[in-house]
């Protein structure tokens, strides 16, 4: 099918296009130079055209998400989606069902979403859910920071074997990147303990979180993975943790060679807390922004808080336990054998709570104080700091001082006094928004065929009802929220899937995964001793552990050649 999008104001930061009026041509799912006269024409005059949105970190599938759904019937009760002629029924709110997840992302113009926490043991479940999510393309990051094999290889200094093992794990779980959550802390949590700095020894392994981070960072380089290591820091959610975050960023400084960044610190808002306890809780955004402005080896995402009732879920078992003791809410905590842990606690962010309000402020301060939008991306760590349907609201806060002031007025006075936001005048342009919601994220993920509208890219396009020549987002931020919440058109792989916020077509989306070709096979494949050990200690047999490619509804393999 051919498609021609005419006369839109195009924002395509990866190709340096900033609001130029131009036509975009689409043929058989790709962006092309020209189309024939038979092409269907979309009149986008007076509208904003952007590449389809990319989300680097959003918990949309897997065992944890599903446990969250079961834990929270009251979350679905008020947010029911009826079926239509083309769409299936479903429920929201903070943990939407699979179909609803796909539709809601597509309605906002997002077309690629990364699920950031897959326990390898639950990879099959995760892929079953990912296959079910319609329209959007997706991928998942296996949790490898506390996996026994990795810890052992790093302890023994066998970095090349470790790299081959990680390559095998990525293939076995059909994963996309290396996810590290509270390195060492999750292993310690298996014994009721935690680690409190990146230099604390991990029980039974005699290594430190620093060695895990550096080791896996090296592995990432040896394997030439498209994304960097994706890190959830130690001490997350604890007052004073901005120091840990700074130390974590410093610990890989020497690995940067001036090219691609080497580390992504995710939902940085939760890792930028100052103060000694909850009473003296303050923002550490300024220090982190200062560091980020001076260095280029790290990228961040916001983890912006939205004031609503949501569900927190991370692989960080000890942190989730702390959250339970703070709130007294119902909770789930889980030890995933030798791999990782996890926890779920429902949570309500209230503007009248000094801590929550300061958290809200920290997220925006980070985004606004870090000068280069290519270094920090828009996320809410869905659903931890708020469900992804809050993105339009976050965009409005970034684009308009007035929108921020309106919210600041409702905050706890203590938080309002501490907030740096009144001193910041910066307002994002549509170009900046295109960077933080699509181009920057695609670049950080190494997705060469997403996040831009150059010839050869996937025809994932979002068209919004915003006329950049007429609308002043700074003043009329309500219109911005409306436009980003309800895309005029969403085009996925050349198909028009959404028109005026209504889903027109239920198309399946692909699952992306990285196939690393190593020079030597992984020891796991050839060493009978390792296989036997796996058979003896794991609940799943070695043969049943990997996820077959045919298990994915639509598999999209990204081949990478490794050094080892």
């Amino acid at each position: 099918m051919e498609l021609l999008i005419k006369n839109g104001y195009v924002f395509d930061p990866l190709n340096g296009i900033n609001g130029e009026k131009m036509d975009i041509a689409v043929k058989s799912g790709k962006i092309v130079e020209k189309v024939s006269k038979k092409a269907k024409v979309i009149d986008a005059s007076g509208m904003t055209v952007m590449p389809g949105g990319v989300d680097i970190h959003s918990h949309i599938a897997g065992g944890k998400v599903n446990s969250g759904r079961m834990l929270r019937p009251e979350d679905h009760f008020r947010d029911v989606e009826k079926k239509t002629a083309v769409t299936r029924s479903g429920v929201g709110y903070s943990i939407p069902s699979t179909f609803t997840t796909g539709y809601r992302y597509a309605r906002m113009g997002w077309t690629t979403v990364m699920d950031p926490a897959m326990p390898p043991l639950e990879a099959k479940h995760t892929h079953e859910e990912l296959s079910d999510i319609p329209i959007i393309d997706k991928a998942s990051y296996p949790l490898l920071g506390d996996w026994w094999f990795v810890l052992e290889y790093l302890r023994d200094g066998r970095i090349e074997e470790c790299a081959r093992h990680v390559a095998w794990m990525l293939k076995a779980t059909k994963g996309y990147a290396i996810k590290i959550v509270n390195p060492g802390g999750l292993e310690a949590w298996g014994f009721g303990r935690n680690v409190h700095s990146i230099n604390d020894p991990i029980p039974n392994f005699c290594i430190t979180p620093r060695e895990i981070i550096r080791g896996l960072c090296k592995v990432n380089k040896l394997l030439h993975l498209p994304h960097t290591i994706h890190l959830h820091t130690n001490n997350l959610g604890m007052p004073g943790n901005y120091l840990t975050t700074l130390e974590t960023m410093r610990c890989v400084e020497d690995m940067y060679d001036g090219g691609k960044p080497v580390m992504h610190i995710t939902h940085c808002q939760f890792s930028a807390f100052k103060g000694e306890d909850w009473r003296t809780f303050d923002t550490g955004a300024e220090e982190i922004a200062e560091y980020m402005n001076a260095h280029s080896h790290v990228t961040l995402d916001m983890g912006q808080v939205i004031f609503t009732d949501t569900t927190t879920m991370t692989a960080d078992g000890p942190f989730q336990y702390t959250l339970y003791t703070l709130t007294g809410n119902k909770w789930v905590n889980h030890d995933v054998e030798t791999e990782t842990s996890s926890g779920i606690v429902p949570f309500q962010y209230r503007p009248k709570s000094a801590v929550h309000a300061t958290q809200w402020s920290i997220g925006l301060e980070l985004a606004l104080l870090i000068k280069d939008p290519w270094k920090i991306f828009l996320t809410t760590d869905h659903p931890n700091a708020g469900p992804f349907i809050g993105y339009p609201q976050v965009i409005a806060w970034l684009m308009s001082c007035k929108a921020r002031e309106e919210t600041l007025k409702k905050l706890h006075p203590k938080a309002r006094k501490k907030s740096l936001l009144p001193t910041i005048n910066r307002e994002f342009s549509l170009y900046d928004i295109a960077v933080v919601t699509r181009a920057g994220q695609a670049l950080a993920l190494g997705l060469t065929f997403k996040g831009h509208l150059g010839v050869g890219a996937d025809a994932d396009i979002a068209i919004y009802n915003i006329n950049p020549e007429k609308l002043d987002p700074s003043r009329d931020y309500e219109a911005v929220i409306k436009a980003f919440g309800c895309a005029a058109y969403t085009i996925k792989g050349g198909d028009i899937v959404v028109e005026n916020g209504e889903v027109l077509k239920h198309v399946p989306g692909a699952t992306l995964w990285v196939n690393v070709e190593t020079c030597k096979p992984c020891e796991m494949e050839v060493d009978e001793g390792l296989k036997r050990r796996f058979r003896e200690y794991w609940t799943v047999e070695y043969e049943n552990y990997p996820v077959d490619e045919h298990y994915l509804a639509i598999s999209r393999k990204i081949n990478v050649k490794a050094d080892v």
Binding site: P73, D75, G328, K330
Partner: protein
């Protein structure tokens, strides 16, 4: 004027009837009311297909806008859900979720009510002259935002989990109550005049439960506080009999008060040695 609804036939499958609510009916004539949509099972129907709808003079003492239902509507769910004013009188039994999240007005049932009557209600009054089902005033499954205001009076018995996660308001049960009265309650008053099946006040963190009848045992996570001569239920009502007072539930660091009649519970006499 008052709208009178009379079922045309016996209902066999559940009917979702949120539209039977004073503010929905207000300002509409009989024809418009007849066109209101309801779901009978999975089929959308009009209200007039299920009910004879008439107008009558409002009975004395009934607040307007008023609705009267004549007959058994135990298959109808969500009657009076979210209502803020007016009055509904039901001469017969009624189904689940009666007056769910209502904020004001009054519902009177001369018959029995199904489960979740007054679920998470915020204000107003519900009077049930027969029995109430399980989960009286309890919030939806999984939620801890229970009843936060208003008053429920049951002249018959109540099922299990009455007043679960209650935060404010009064529940009075003249008959007996099932297990787990006031489970997880934070505040408010529950008064059971009859007997109680046990596990009263489990997981409560605050509030008051008064049991005038028999309860076999008190949960071991409650401490014995002493003997009291009377307890106040509301402004106009004080129970003046000797009562044992227990504080709990300690598993939740709770400070809820559980009063139990001394006269009807001789099996609890051994607590007095702690005095």
């Amino acid at each position: 004027m008052m709208i009178v609804l009379t079922p045309i036939r016996e209902f066999k499958v559940p009917i979702f009837a949120e539209c039977i609510s004073p503010e929905v009916f207000e300002g509409k004539n009989i024809v418009q009311i007849g066109q209101l949509p309801v779901y009978e099972g999975n089929r959308e129907k009009k209200l007039q297909e299920l009910f004879k709808i008439e107008e009558a003079k409002t009975a004395e003492g009934v607040a307007e806008p008023a609705i009267t239902i004549q007959g058994d509507v135990s298959k109808l769910k969500y009657i009076g859900a979210g209502m803020t004013k007016g009055e509904i009188v039901i001469n017969g039994s009624v189904g689940m979720y009666l007056g769910e999240e209502m904020k004001g007005g009054k519902i009177t049932v001369y018959g029995n009510a199904g489960g979740w009557a007054g679920s998470a209600m915020k204000g107003g009054t519900i009077e049930i002259h027969g029995d109430a089902g399980d989960y009286l005033a309890a919030p939806y499954r999984g939620s801890t935002q229970g009843m936060s205001g208003g008053k429920i009076i049951v002249y018959g018995n109540a099922g299990v989990d009455a007043g679960a996660y209650m935060r404010k308001g009064i529940i009075k049960v003249h008959g007996n109550a099932g297990q787990f009265v006031g489970v997880g309650m934070h505040d408010g008053v529950i008064y059971v005049k009859g007997n109680c099946d046990g596990r009263a006040g489990s997981c409560m963190t605050g509030g008051t439960i008064v049991i005038s009848g028999f309860i076999e045992s008190i949960l071991p996570t409650f401490t014995f506080e002493g003997l009291k001569k009377k307890v106040k239920i509301e402004e106009s009502e004080v129970v003046e009999v000797p009562l044992y007072l227990f504080i709990g539930d300690l598993t939740e660091n709770g400070k809820g008060k559980l009063y139990v009649s001394k006269a009807n519970n001789p099996q609890l006499y051994y607590y007095e040695r702690f005095l």
